[in-house]
C-alpha cells in the first residue's frame, strides 16, 4: 500500500462524477488512478440481493482479490503513459451533472445545502444513483442501464472467482457467455478493449454496453489466448429484480408505486383460479406515513394490504414487482396515471385510477 497515495472518501458531496462513476450501492469501492486522473481500474462489487446465488454483499470483496487488483494497478502504472490510450474506456460518458448536488433531483434537499445556505451535509453514494434516476425520468425515457445498473457478470452467464481478478468458475448453460465459448478456468484478461483487474472492471464494461451489442474480449486459457465475443440481446440486463437493488427499489416503490407488492406464485394462482401467466401482485404494504415523499394516491383510492392486483393499464399478463416499478418509471411520465384492477377476498374486481408522481 505504501506504493500508492491512499485517499479515503466518506461522502459524495462535490464528487467529480465525470470521473468517479461506480455502483452507488457499494459497501466498499476502490479506484486506482494516475495523478492526471486517468483511471487504471476499479475494485469492489456489490450484487443485488435478488440475484440468484448472490445474496449478501461481502462475498465479492476479498483480500486475495483486492491484492491481485492492486498488483494489476501497479503493472499498469509501470507502463504509464505508454498505455494511456488503452485506458481511455475506463472513464465514462458525461454524467447528468458534474457533481451530485448539481443534479436537478437534488435541488432543495437539506443534505445538499444546510439551512445557513453556506455549509452542506453528507451526500450518500447511493443518492447519486437515486438522483440520476429521478433527474433522467423528469427529462424523458429512462434506459435499462439506469434501472438495472452495474450488472454482475452472472447477467451474461458468468460466475467469477472473488479471490482472483476475473477467473471464470461457472458458465450458465445457454447464456451469452456459453454461446461465446467461455469455460471454467478462463481468465478474462480484456473485455471491451479494456484490461481487467477485477470483477468491478467487468461490471464497468457491462455497464457501458448497449442493447443489443457484441462485447469482444480476450481470455487466457492455459497458455493460450482466446478471442471471445459476448452477444448481448435486448433486455439482457433484466436478469434480476431491480426492486431488490436497495435504494433504487425503495425510492421507486415509495415515490411512484405507493405500495410494496409481491408476485403471487403458481400454487397460489392455482388456488385462486388464476392462469399460470395471469397478472397477480399481492400488496404487502401500503407506503407508511413516515415516508415523506411517498405516493399517497393508492391509499386514497382505497387500496389496502392484502389486495390482489390483477390488471395494470389493461395488461393482464404476469408481472413481478420489478416489472411493475419499471413500467411506472419507463412508461409513465411524472404526473401520469395508471389504471389498476384489484381483488379483495371473494369480491369482484374493483377498478381504480391512481396518480404516478
Amino acid at each position: 500500500m505504501e506504493q500508492f497515495v491512499c485517499v479515503r472518501v466518506v461522502q459524495a458531496w462535490g464528487m467529480d462524477l465525470s470521473l468517479f462513476q461506480f455502483h452507488g450501492q457499494l459497501t466498499w469501492s476502490v479506484f486506482f488512478l494516475n495523478a492526471d486522473r486517468t483511471i487504471y481500474g476499479r475494485y469492489g462489487s456489490r450484487a443485488p440481493s435478488g440475484t440468484s446465488g448472490f445474496k449478501g454483499n461481502d462475498r465479492f470483496v476479498t483480500l486475495p482479490g483486492f491484492r491481485k487488483a492492486v498488483e494489476g494497478a501497479l503493472e499498469i502504472h509501470k507502463g504509464y503513459p505508454g498505455n494511456k490510450a488503452a485506458l481511455a474506456g475506463k472513464t465514462g460518458p458525461a454524467p447528468v451533472a458534474r457533481t451530485p448536488e448539481a443534479m436537478p433531483a437534488a435541488a432543495g434537499l437539506s443534505n445538499v445545502r444546510q439551512a445557513d445556505g453556506k455549509s452542506h451535509g453528507c451526500v450518500h453514494c447511493h443518492q447519486v444513483q437515486d438522483w440520476e434516476l429521478l433527474s433522467l425520468r423528469a427529462k424523458g425515457p429512462v434506459e435499462d442501464r439506469v434501472l438495472w445498473p452495474w450488472p454482475m457478470p452472472d447477467a451474461v452467464g458468468l460466475s467469477l472467482d472473488p479471490a482472483e481478478r476475473a477467473t471464470v468458475t461457472e458458465v450458465a448453460p445457454g447464456s451469452a457467455a456459453a454461446k461465446a465459448g467461455l469455460k471454467p478456468g478462463d481468465r478474462i484478461a480484456a473485455l471491451g478493449g479494456q484490461s481487467i483487474l477485477s470483477i468491478a472492471d467487468v461490471q464497468w464494461v457491462l455497464q457501458q454496453a448497449k442493447e443489443p451489442c457484441v462485447v469482444k474480449g480476450q481470455v487466457e486459457r492455459g497458455a493460450a489466448k482466446v478471442e471471445v465475443s459476448l452477444a448481448l440481446a435486448e433486455g439482457w440486463r433484466r436478469a434480476y429484480s431491480f426492486a431488490d437493488n436497495l435504494s433504487l427499489g425503495w425510492i421507486t416503490r415509495q415515490r411512484l408505486a405507493g405500495f410494496r407488492c409481491d408476485a403471487v406464485g403458481p400454487d397460489e394462482k392455482q388456488k385462486l383460479g388464476l392462469g399460470e401467466k395471469a397478472l397477480a401482485l399481492r400488496i404487502r404494504e401500503i407506503s407508511p406515513d413516515f415516508v415523506k415523499d411517498r405516493n399517497t394516491s393508492p391509499k386514497k383510492a382505497g387500496l389496502q394490504k392484502g389486495d390482489l392486483i390483477v390488471e395494470v393499464d389493461g395488461r393482464k399478463d404476469a408481472m413481478t414487482e420489478s416489472d411493475y416499478l419499471a413500467f411506472l418509471v419507463q412508461k409513465k411520465k411524472p404526473g401520469g396515471k395508471v389504471d389498476l384492477a384489484y381483488v379483495r377476498g371473494a369480491a369482484a374486481p374493483v377498478k381504480v385510477t391512481v396518480d404516478v408522481p
Binding site: 500500500m1 505504501e2 506504493q3 500508492f4 497515495v5 491512499c6 485517499v7 479515503r8 472518501v9 466518506v10 461522502q11 459524495a12 458531496w13 464528487m15 467529480d16 468517479f20 461506480f22 457499494l26 459497501t27 466498499w28 469501492s29 476502490v30 479506484f31 486506482f32 488512478l33 494516475n34 495523478a35 492526471d36 486522473r37 487504471y40 469492489g44 492492486v70 494497478a73 501497479l74 499498469i76 502504472h77 443534505n111 444546510q114 453556506k118 455549509s119 452542506h120 451535509g121 453528507c122 453514494c125
Partner: protein, 61 residues
C-alpha cells in the same frame, strides 16, 4: 437504543462535512484511518500523487 445513538452520531457528522474534516472523522469514529491516508480530500491526493509519481488508491465507503 444503539441504532438511535449511531443515527445521532451520523446526523451530527453530516452537519460537519463542509466545515471540518477532523471533526467529521471524529464524529464518524473513523479512528482506523491514520498514517499516510489522506482523509476525504481527493484534490490533496492528486497533488501528492503528482509530487511523488505514485499511483492513487481512492477508497469510497
Amino acid at each position: 437504543m444503539k441504532i438511535g445513538l449511531a443515527l445521532g452520531s451520523f446526523l451530527a457528522a453530516t452537519a460537519l462535512v463542509g466545515q471540518d474534516k477532523e471533526a467529521l472523522k471524529t464524529a464518524l469514529k473513523d479512528a482506523e484511518v491514520s498514517g499516510p491516508w489522506i482523509y476525504d480530500d481527493v484534490n490533496a491526493g492528486y497533488a501528492e500523487a503528482k509530487k511523488s509519481a505514485k499511483p492513487m488508491l481512492v477508497v469510497f465507503r
